[in-house]
Symmetry: C2
Subunit: 252 residues, 2 copies
DNA sequence: TCAAAAGTGTTTGACCTACACCCATGG
DNA sequence: CCATGGGTGTAGGTCAAACACTTTTGA
């Protein structure tokens, strides 16, 4: 349910034996009848850099977990009527200055002791963005002086709270999803080379793949269109650039 | 993040331009600095009956959405230090009297207008249970007189709130997961026949499968051990009963 | 003996893996 | 020419779909 309103009265008293089904009268509820948790949205901000998928973490300056690294996030703004995804987008923008980035809900964490200070429910999202988007943007290690840094998903520092399990869940989700959904392209420039695309997959899957088979497989799932542009940075044939042009229609 | 504490002060004032990174001093926070949403946990309770996967819904007696059907759920109990999963388990027990049932988190819904009365964040779970567990238990259409009834997942009535999309997400999740995880067995008795197992898969996938291929595929994934028992309810060879005995080890 | 259930076998084709090999192109 | 990137071909293996068929067993 999302909407049975609590009865009036003290929180504990309101929860009687049959209290699991509460009156729905619009005229008979008190939105403060139950104590409420704080709700935050954390965003695992991912980029692809130096052959690896990296996530942006911030170093905590204060207890608890002082000097450990944490996933950036913030409180849901009730007054602003933010949806969860809007909160995630706002956090992402505050942290990186970017809008319009791919965002997906990961999972919600609500263990009563995950934050020693107070009861916090955290909805985790993840974002996938291209390096070029960050070019002019400085990642802001915000005012109260936390460091911010990128870490490869497979070589993380010691993390605060239950954030290790959040990132474990993230890696599992992304590795599973990359096989059937075109999410890898969000980590690359609009024009990319085969070698780059393959490197993203290899990083996510954690193992090498054979180039010819990889390309056939990708082309059987997605339209990969050549651009006119090239990439030349040394000896050898310059790499051609391609762009993602949607998934193949599945009917017929 | 799950833990940066809000600054002291009025909610709006606390959220300054740089407010996304808040002080972590344990000595410097006020857990009421931000307005909080209510948090509920809804549980999609599923059984397998008459050849179909069914979900338990309750009929709303009061506005909003009076007389529409809704997924049962309830408020997270802060004082009791419940985890989200414990809340789901409690709701399940209150609704059906059952404990120890398979539970899995589905997704979290937080649109600001999903409940017209107040801001509610709902974490949806789903439960899979066997018919035999319900045998002596009456499903309680709780005191304030809501009806409770089972509906096939593919033929749902008009639903309250955003519960239609919750159940859409549920079907998609279950259909995807049944292919690689042994979740179907939770819907069957410990001893089941091949025909029953196949019917569960066909119901979830929404299409018929060929029995011989189906059995080979299942047996390649899981240990299916014969029991000594049988099932005889008419002419024809009585169906032998089997039990699930884990997944095959994947190393070798 | 019939009907339903369990189980075997086989054919076909798709697809994945691994590798060999060729072509293109800028330095 | 050569190093690198793009691309084709293909042999072998695995696996799944589809279907035919046999065996078992209680009513």
């Amino acid at each position: 349910m999302s909407a049975r309103a609590p009865k009036r009265g003290k929180p504990r008293a309101a929860k009687t034996a049959e209290g699991h089904l509460l009156k729905d009268d619009a005229s008979n509820y008190d939105k403060n009848a139950f104590e409420k948790p704080s709700v935050t949205v954390d965003v695992c901000i991912c980029r692809f850099h130096a052959g690896e998928v990296e996530v942006l973490l911030i170093k905590r300056k204060h207890p608890p977990f002082r000097n450990l690294w944490a996933i950036p996030g913030g409180f849901l703004q009730i007054e602003a009527e933010e949806s969860l995804e809007e909160t995630a987008a706002r956090e992402l923008e505050e942290e990186t200055g970017l809008k319009g980035v791919y965002l997906e809900q990961l999972k919600t964490y609500g263990d009563p002791r995950r934050d020693p200070r107070m009861r916090i429910i955290t909805v985790a999202y993840f974002a996938l963005l291209r390096m070029s988007a960050l070019a002019d943007q400085t990642v802001r290690a915000a005012d109260d002086a936390k460091e911010a840094a990128w870490f490869p998903l497979r070589r993380l520092p010691k993390l605060a709270f239950d954030h290790q399990s959040v990132l474990d869940d993230l890696l599992q989700r992304v590795a599973g999803k990359v096989a059937y959904a075109p999410i890898a392209f969000h980590l690359l420039e609009p024009a990319f080379t085969w070698a780059e695309l393959q490197a993203v997959y290899e990083s996510i899957l954690g193992k090498p793949v054979l180039a010819p088979n990889f390309r056939r497989k990708i082309q059987s799932q997605y339209r990969i269109e050549p651009t006119q542009t090239q990439r030349s940075q040394g000896p050898g044939r310059p790499a051609a650039e391609f762009r993602f042009d949607g998934v193949w229609e599945e009917g017929f």
